[in-house]
């Protein structure tokens, strides 16, 4: 396999051809914040948190979907990137109703963790406070659109790992919504296998187990890691 040599934060690194900047950075111990990205799923570049500056002009590219190239120069930590990442988190917090104190995922939430990491101690933009439904028609799980950030992890894991594609996205912009099948209640879905992978994949409290109350929705990401190892290495490690 051909190897590409590039510079990340003034450090020379090499990475296999076809790898993304995110993969190259992680292999070299360089942390880039991500939210929509989940190991084992396709990448969509939806959240833009992994923006990095590429080339002398500092062109902004999403690290998760940009392939490495020979002599590429990448910066992952600049004042501009820090400001944009913080702004992305703030905008996500204004777009829906993320009320951490009464959320099932309080203290187990990737959005909340990133707000902490990126120094979001308040939000500088106006909250939109949209009126959104909570669908608890499924006997085991529920989906609370107030907490959804449209990362589409649930859509991708259902389609790519479970092979079902119960979930999809309807609408555009701030009207976009995660829907089950033909925009019907989750409980009426003829395709959902109740596998619960979407519950594990969701970074926030949007997809949850019924009966979880505030701060109880801990994710078991090891389950996803197990599936990934089984698929890629044919090893079923219990």
């Amino acid at each position: 396999m051909a190897v590409r040599t590039l510079t990340i934060n003034d450090k020379l690194v090499s990475s296999p051809e076809g790898a993304t900047i995110l993969q190259a950075a992680r292999e070299n111990g360089i942390d880039i914040p991500t939210l929509c990205q989940l190991d084992g799923l396709s990448t969509v570049g939806a959240c833009r948190l992994c923006l990095v500056e590429v080339g002398p002009a500092g062109r902004l590219q999403a690290a998760c979907v940009t392939q490495v190239a020979e002599e590429m120069v990448v910066r992952t930590e600049t004042p501009k990137l820090r400001e944009y990442r913080r702004m992305i988190i703030e905008l996500l917090l204004t777009e829906r109703n993320h009320v951490c104190s009464v959320c099932v995922a309080n203290h187990h939430c990737e959005l909340q963790d990133l707000a902490v990491k990126l120094g979001v101690d308040h939000v500088r933009f106006e909250y939109l406070h949209p009126h959104l439904p909570v669908d608890v028609s499924h006997e085991l799980f529920g989906i609370d659109h107030n907490r959804c950030i449209l990362c589409t992890r649930c859509v991708r894991i259902c389609d790519e790992i479970e092979g079902v594609h119960t979930w999809d996205v309807s609408g555009r912009g701030t009207n976009a919504r995660i829907i089950s099948d033909l925009n019907q209640p989750w409980g009426d879905s003829p395709t959902c296998t109740s596998c619960g992978k979407c519950v594990q994949a969701c970074p926030t409290g949007a997809v949850f187990r019924q009966g979880s109350t505030v701060a109880e929705m801990e994710k078991d990401r090891q389950r996803l890691r197990f599936l990934l190892t089984a698929r890629e290495k044919r090893e079923w490690l219990v």
Partner: protein
């Protein structure tokens, strides 16, 4: 060193932040050595005084009394500090915004969901008028510092007050800025 003139205010919140303030336990005795509490739900002063060094404001801005008091606080305080998630983000107090303006919210609470005597509360001059939209404090007035948390744990509050007593700029980071 002059004693810190400290105020705490309770706007649209549940008073949980003030309970957490009391959770500083014996450090309150220490605080009393360095600060005068000049206005607070704890001390029963009627008028918000002039020349306050620092004011901790709990709660979101939800009615006209809150808005008026917030403006007075800003004029009379050197430091205004958003104290807890309701002041910082709107939090639970702002959840009513999803239902629409004050009219829709009162209608839902006192008419649609009422089982006995449906009707709007009316006591002019006593009940403050609800604002159409609940906002975090910093949408109403400029705020100098933020203490997130629902409620902020006592050590977090202590950290900020200690800095103010020492005349330093308070600083919170890492888990100390976590919402919720």
């Amino acid at each position: 060193m002059a004693r810190l003139r400290l105020a705490t205010v309770w706007l649209g919140g549940c008073s949980g932040c003030h309970m957490s303030f009391l959770d500083m336990d014996e450090w309150l005795i220490e605080l009393a050595r360095w600060a005068n509490i000049v206005y607070s739900p704890f001390v029963d002063a009627k008028e918000f005084p002039e020349n306050v060094d620092a004011t901790l404001v709990e709660g979101a801005v939800a009615n006209e009394d809150h808005l008026q008091l917030a403006r007075q606080i800003r004029q009379r305080s050197r430091w205004v500090i958003s104290f807890g998630d309701c002041a910082v983000t709107g939090n639970v107090t702002a959840m009513r915004n999803c239902f629409g303006g004050a009219h829709e919210v009162l209608d839902r609470g006192y008419i649609q969901l009422a089982t006995h005597n449906p009707g709007w509360p009316s006591d002019p001059g006593h009940l403050p008028i609800l604002l159409d939209r609940v906002t975090p404090l910093h949408e109403a007035i400029p705020v100098d510092f933020f203490i997130p948390g629902c409620p902020p744990p006592a050590p977090r509050i202590r950290q900020v007050l200690s800095a103010l007593i020492e005349g330093k700029q308070p600083h919170l980071e890492g888990d100390d800025i976590r919402f919720g």
